[in-house]
C-alpha cells in the first residue's frame, strides 16, 4: 500500500476516530472472508474499526445498524448495501451527521457517498457467459441464480442472459432461482439434468454456496467428468473462494470470477481514511491499478478488477483465495 498510517503508535484508543463497518450477511463464505479482512485492513489504514455489524440479509436491520453506529459517534462508515435503494435512508442519516461513507460492493441509488468500491456484477455475468460461450458452441446451459430480490444476483442474471442472447445465440438458457441456498440448487439442478441430460454448461452465481451441490448433483446423475473429457459439462462459478480454486486445480471446475474480498476491505478503508481527512475525489486512474469512474452524477466508483480464474492463473499469489 502506498498510504502509511498517520496515527502514531497503535494503542491510541480514544473515542474519536472510530469507524464502523457493516456486512450484509454472514452465511456466505465470501462475506465471511470480507468480514475477516475488515479489522486488519482497517488497522493497516490506520483506522480503528468497531466490530462489524451483520444485517443478516434484512434491509431494515441494515438501516438500524447504521443508526446505531452513528449514535455511537463513529467518524466514518464502510457500508455494504444489501440493496442499492434500500440503503439511502441510512446514507442520509450519515450525511446529516457529517459522517463520510464508503459503499462497498453495491452502488447506492442516491444519497451521498465518498466512494463506491466494487467490482461490476454485470461484468461477472458477462465474463461467465464468455467462458462458457468459448467452450460450448451450442446447446443448453443452466444458470443457478441467487435471491431474485438481490441486486448482485439480478445483475449477474441479466448480464448472463443478455450476453448469451447477443453473442452466443445457439445456446439456450435454463434457470434455477436458488435463493443463495445449496439445497435448492441441488434439487433444481437434479430436476433439470434429468429432463435435459444434454446440458453443456452451468453458471453458478455464488460458488461459495453452489459449488458443492452442483458437483454432488452431477455425480448423482453420472454427469461428472473432468475438464478435458468430451462429456465434461463446463462449470463456471463466481466468488473465488479457496475451494473453488482447489476445484479448478482438481480439474472439476473450469473457471471462477474472483470477487476481491480482500480488496473490498482494503480499498474501502483506504478511501474512507482519505475521506475522513477531508479529501475529495475525482475520476481517473488510482495508485492501485484501477480506475475511478463517475457512474452516475455525483457517484464515484473505484472499479476493482475481478479476474476470471482458470487453470492458467489459479496459482496467482494475488488472488485473495490463495492468501487465506
Amino acid at each position: 500500500g502506498s498510504t502509511k498510517d498517520t496515527a502514531g503508535g497503535g494503542g491510541g484508543g480514544g473515542g474519536d476516530g472510530k469507524i464502523g463497518a457493516t456486512v450484509p450477511l454472514l452465511t456466505s463464505p465470501f462475506w465471511q472472508a470480507y468480514n475477516n479482512y475488515v479489522p486488519g485492513m482497517a488497522k493497516e489504514a490506520g483506522l480503528d474499526a468497531l466490530p462489524t455489524v451483520n444485517a443478516d440479509n434484512d434491509t431494515q436491520k441494515q438501516i438500524t445498524d447504521i443508526n446505531n453506529l452513528l449514535n455511537q459517534g463513529v467518524k466514518g462508515l464502510v457500508v455494504t448495501p444489501l440493496d442499492s435503494a434500500a440503503i439511502v435512508a441510512g446514507l442520509n442519516q450519515a450525511e446529516r451527521k457529517g459522517v463520510p461513507v464508503v459503499s462497498v460492493d453495491v452502488a447506492p441509488e442516491s444519497g451521498k457517498v465518498a466512494m463506491v468500491v466494487r467490482a461490476d456484477n454485470k461484468a461477472y455475468g458477462t465474463k461467465a457467459c464468455d467462458v462458457i460461450g468459448e467452450r460450448v458452441p451450442e446447446g443448453k446451459v443452466i444458470q443457478i441464480m441467487g435471491d431474485l430480490a438481490s441486486v448482485n444476483g439480478r445483475d449477474r442474471s441479466e448480464a448472463f442472459r443478455a450476453c448469451v442472447k447477443e453473442k452466443y445465440p445457439k445456446l439456450t438458457v435454463l434457470e434455477i432461482p436458488a435463493d443463495w441456498q445449496a439445497e435448492k440448487a441441488a434439487s433444481g439442478l437434479e430436476g433439470l439434468l434429468t429432463a435435459n441430460p444434454d446440458v453443456k454448461g452451468i453458471y453458478m452465481q455464488a460458488g461459495g454456496v453452489y459449488l458443492a451441490p452442483t458437483l454432488q448433483a452431477l455425480e448423482r446423475k453420472n454427469l461428472k467428468f473432468p475438464v478435458g473429457d468430451p462429456k465434461h459439462i463446463v462449470l463456471v462459478s463466481n466468488d473465488g473462494i479457496p475451494q473453488e480454486l482447489d476445484a479448478i486445480r482438481a480439474g472439476e471446475l473450469d473457471a471462477t470470477v474472483s470477487q476481491p474480498a480482500d480488496d473490498y476491505a482494503k480499498y474501502g478503508m483506504y478511501w474512507l481514511k482519505k475521506a475522513m481527512a477531508g479529501e475529495t475525489f475525482s475520476e481517473g486512474p488510482t495508485d492501485h491499478g484501477s480506475t475511478v469512474v463517475e457512474t452516475m452524477p455525483g457517484i464515484l466508483e473505484d472499479q476493482l478488477p475481478a479476474p476470471v480464474v482458470t487453470k492458467e492463473n489459479v496459482d496467482d499469489e494475488a488472488l485473495w483465495g490463495n492468501s487465506l
Binding site: V53, Q60, K61, N68, S84, I87, E109, S110
Partner: protein, 340 residues
C-alpha cells in the same frame, strides 16, 4: 400453609369479598408485567455496557426501529387472541406498499396515481388480503396455519413477480412521511403505533367487541351460544390485522426509504416471538396489548444492546437467542404461571 389459606379464600369468598378480590385481581396484572423486570435488567446492563445506550438519540432510534414491527405485532396479537393464526402478515408488509407504490411511481404500472390514492390502496390491499384469509378460514373452515402459510408464499411470490425482483424507490415523499416526519422529537410512526396500541388496548378491555374477541378465542362454541357473532368478528379480525400489517409495511418503507422485493421476509418469526414473549397465548383467548408492547420493546432493546455491546458479529445471533430464552425464564419465574 398457603394452601390452606387459598382454600379458605375460595370456599368463603363472600365473607371478605374485597380482600379476596384484591388478592385475585393481582394475578392477571402480574402476568402482563412479567417482562418488565427483564426489560429493566436489560436497560441497566445497557447503561453499563455503553454510554450512548441511555441517550435520547439512542432511545428514539430503538423506538423508530421497532414501530413497524409493533404494528404488525398488534395485528397478529388480535388474530391470536381470537384463537387463529396469520402467518401471511409478513408478506402483506411487502406486497401492500409495493402495489401502492407501483400505482404511483413512473416506473411502476404506468398509472401514476396521486400519492394519496396510492396510500389508500395500500390499506385497501391489506384489507383485501385479510378478508380473503378470513373467508378461507372462517367460511370455508380451512386450517388457518396452512392457509396463511400458503398465502405467505403466494404473496411473497407476487411481490417478486410484480417487481421482477427490483427494489422500488422513487416514491413520493408522502410514502416516507410516517417514518421520517417527527412530532415532539419522535417519528410519527412511533406515535401512530403508540396510539393504536392504546386504542386497541382500551377496546380490548372496555368494549364488548374486545371482550368478544377473548370469548371467541377462549371457547368458540360458548361464545356463539352467548350470542356473539363469531364468524363476523373472526373474519373482521383478519381484515384489521391485514390493514395493520399494510400500515406496518408503509412505515417500513419510509424507514428504509425503498421497497425491496424481500421486504417483510422472515419477519413473522420476530412478530410471533414478540407477541408470545409478551404473553399472547397461541391457544387464543389470552394476552394484553401492554404485554405485546413489552414483547416488542424487549426484542428491540436486545437487538440494539447487542450492536452497542460490540458482541462479535458471528456470535450476535446466538447471544440474541440466548437472551430471549433467559428473559422467557425470568418472565416465567416472576410472572408465575406457565405460559401456554
Amino acid at each position: 400453609m398457603t394452601e390452606v389459606q387459598s382454600r379458605e379464600r375460595r370456599v368463603h369468598g363472600t365473607d371478605r369479598p374485597e380482600r379476596a378480590f384484591r388478592g385475585m385481581g393481582r394475578l392477571p396484572r402480574l402476568r402482563e408485567l412479567a417482562l418488565v423486570p427483564a426489560l429493566v435488567v436489560l436497560l441497566i446492563i445497557g447503561a453499563i455496557v455503553n454510554d450512548s445506550f441511555l441517550t435520547t438519540g439512542n432511545l428514539i432510534s430503538i423506538l423508530g426501529a421497532s414501530a413497524a414491527l409493533a404494528l404488525v405485532v398488534l395485528g397478529e396479537s388480535l388474530v391470536l387472541i381470537s384463537g387463529k393464526f396469520d402467518l401471511s402478515l409478513e408478506s402483506t408488509v411487502g406486497i401492500a406498499p409495493a402495489i401502492g407504490a407501483l400505482l404511483v411511481i413512473p416506473s411502476g404500472f404506468g398509472t401514476e396515481w396521486h400519492a394519496a390514492a396510492g396510500i389508500a390502496t395500500i390499506l385497501l390491499v391489506g384489507a383485501v388480503i385479510g378478508a380473503f384469509n378470513g373467508f378461507l378460514i372462517v367460511k370455508l373452515k380451512l386450517n388457518a396455519f396452512i392457509v396463511t402459510l400458503a398465502m405467505l408464499i403466494v404473496l411473497r411470490g407476487l411481490l417478486v413477480g410484480a417487481t421482477e425482483g427490483k427494489t422500488l424507490f422513487d416514491m413520493p415523499e408522502a410514502f416516507f412521511t410516517l417514518a421520517t416526519a417527527t412530532f415532539i422529537g419522535l417519528p410519527i410512526s412511533v406515535w401512530l403505533a403508540l396510539v393504536l396500541f392504546a386504542v386497541t388496548g382500551f377496546v380490548l378491555r372496555y368494549h364488548r367487541v374486545g371482550r368478544s374477541l377473548y370469548a371467541i378465542g377462549g371457547n368458540r362454541e360458548a361464545a356463539r351460544a352467548a350470542g356473539i357473532n363469531v364468524d363476523r368478528i373472526s373474519g373482521l379480525v383478519f381484515v384489521v390485522a391485514g390493514v395493520l400489517a399494510a400500515i406496518g409495511g408503509l412505515v417500513l418503507t419510509g424507514y428504509v426509504g425503498a421497497i425491496n422485493a424481500n421486504q417483510g421476509d422472515g419477519m413473522i418469526f420476530t412478530v410471533f416471538a414478540a407477541a408470545v414473549i409478551g404473553g399472547i397465548s397461541l391457544d387464543g383467548g389470552r394476552g394484553t396489548m401492554f404485554g405485546a408492547l413489552t414483547g416488542v420493546l424487549l426484542l428491540a432493546v436486545v437487538e440494539n444492546l447487542l450492536t452497542l455491546a460490540q458482541v462479535p458479529s458471528f456470535w450476535i445471533q446466538a447471544v440474541y437467542g440466548a437472551i430471549i430464552l433467559v428473559s422467557l425464564m425470568l418472565a416465567r419465574f416472576t410472572g408465575g404461571k406457565p405460559q401456554t
